[in-house]
C-alpha cells in the first residue's frame, strides 16, 4: 500500500501529447478491410437475388423496369443496412458485383436521402458457384 502510487505516472503525462484525436478537425485512417456502406457495380449484376435473400435487414430491393429488355433497378436502403457485408459474401459473380466502400460519415437529415439506386440491364455472365478457373467476364450493358 503506497501513498500516491500513481504520482510519477500522471506527472509524466503532463508533458506527453494527449491521446485524443481532435475529430472532426483531424481524421483517422480506416483499415483497408473496413465495412462501410454497400454499393453496386451494375455491369456485373446477374439479378440472381441472393443478396436480397441473405440480407438480415431487408435493405436491398430489385425492381423490374422493363421485362422484355431485361432492365432492372436495384435500390439499397442505407437507412436499414446494418453494414454486415453478408450481401457481398453471398454474391456469386467473379469479380463480385457488390462491394463495401469506406464511408462511415453517413449522417443525413432525412432517411429518404440515404437510398441509393442503379438502373441497369442484366449482365450475361454465368454465375461462379464452385472453385475452379474463373470464366472470362463478358458484360454487355
Amino acid at each position: 500500500m503506497r501513498i500516491a502510487a500513481f504520482l510519477p505516472e500522471i506527472l509524466r503525462h503532463l508533458f506527453k501529447k494527449p491521446a485524443t484525436v481532435d475529430y472532426p478537425f483531424v481524421k483517422l485512417e480506416v483499415p483497408k478491410d473496413f465495412r462501410g456502406t454497400p454499393f453496386l457495380h451494375p455491369e456485373l449484376c446477374i439479378v440472381c437475388r441472393a443478396c436480397i435473400r441473405d440480407c438480415p435487414a431487408e435493405a436491398i430491393d430489385i425492381l423490374t423496369v422493363n421485362e422484355a429488355e431485361k432492365k432492372f433497378k436495384m435500390v439499397i436502403h442505407n437507412d436499414r443496412c446494418i453494414h454486415c457485408a453478408q450481401c457481398v459474401e453471398s454474391c456469386p459473380t467473379t469479380p463480385k458485383a457488390l462491394e463495401m466502400d469506406h464511408l462511415f460519415e453517413t449522417a443525413a437529415f432525412s432517411r429518404w436521402d440515404l437510398k441509393k439506386e442503379w438502373e441497369y440491364a442484366k449482365a450475361q455472365v454465368k454465375p461462379k458457384a464452385a472453385a475452379g478457373a474463373p470464366p472470362p467476364a463478358e458484360a454487355k450493358s
Binding site: 504520482l7 500522471i10 506527472l11 503525462h13 494527449p18 491521446a19
Partner: protein
Amino acid sequence: MAILKTLLYILVYPGLIFLFVYSTFCEWFDRKIYARLQNRMGPTHTGRWGILQPVADFIKLLAKEDIVPDLADKRLFTALPVFGIAAVSTAMLLLPVWHYDLSQPSPNSFSGDIIVLLYILTLPTLVFFLAAWSSTSFFSTIGGSRVLTMLFGYEVPLFLAVLSPAIMAGSWRLAEIAAFFQHRPLLILPNLIGFIVSVICLQAKLERTPFDIPHAETEIVGGTFTEYSGKKLALFRLMTDIEMVVGSGLIATVFLGGFPGGIILGFVYFVVKTLFVIFLLTLIRALTSRIRIDQVISFSWRYLAPLAVLQLLVTIVLKGFVR
C-alpha cells in the same frame, strides 16, 4: 471620493467582476491540468486554449429551464444560491490584496480578521446543507446529511493548521501574518506539515475527489444539487469556484507569504501563488478515488488532526527560540 473607491473595491477588484473573471480562469486551469494529467485534451475550442469554456457553461446554464420541485420550500430554495455567492464574495474582501500591506492597511483589515474569514468560509457548507434540506428529495437529503458529517471531519484540522502560522507570527491579523513571513521567508519551512494538512482539508471543504461524497455522481445522482437547474445551479457552480479562489488565497496568505509589492507586482504574486495551490488541489484530485463517508471521518481524526496538533507543537517550540 472614498465612496467611489469603496464601490470600485466591491464591484471591480477584488470584488465581483474580478472574482467572476478570475474564478472562471481558475476553473479552466483546473480542468485543463486535470485533463492533461489523464492524457486527454480538456477544453480546447471555446476561445484560445478553451479559456472561455467555464464562461460558456455558466451562460448555457443561465439559459436553461429553472424547475422548483413542488414539495420544496420555495423561498429558501431560491434565496440560497444568492446567499452563498454573497458569503464567499465577502470573504474575498478580507484578504490583503489590492496594494494594501502593513504600512497602508486596507479598511477591512483588523486584528482577528483571520477568525472572521474562517467563520465566513463555514457558511457555504451550511448553504449546501440547507439547499439539500429544502429540496426534499431523497437523494438531496442523503447528500445534505453527508455534507454535515464531513464538516465534523475536516473543520478542526483546518482551523488548527491555518492558525499555527498565526501563532508563530504572534498576531491574528492577515496583513501582519503575511508581512511576518515576507521578512523571514525561511520560517515557511517548519510550517510544511500544516501546509499539507490545510491543502487536504481545503480539498474536503471544496468537496472534490477524494472527498466529493456529498455530490457523488454515481451514487446519489447529484446529492445537494439534484433538484437545482438553470440559474440557481449556475450560481452554485460559480460559488464553488469563488470558494476555491478564496480558500487558496487564504492558504497563500498564511503559508506562502502574502502578496507584497504594490498594485502590479502584488497582483502577479496573487495569481502565481493561488495557481500553485490550485495545481496541488488538482493533483490530489487526479490521484485518488472517492472514499466512503465513514472512512473520511476515521481518516481525518486518525491522521489529519494529530498532524495538525503536531504542527502546533512545532510552532510553539520554535516560537520559544525565535523570540
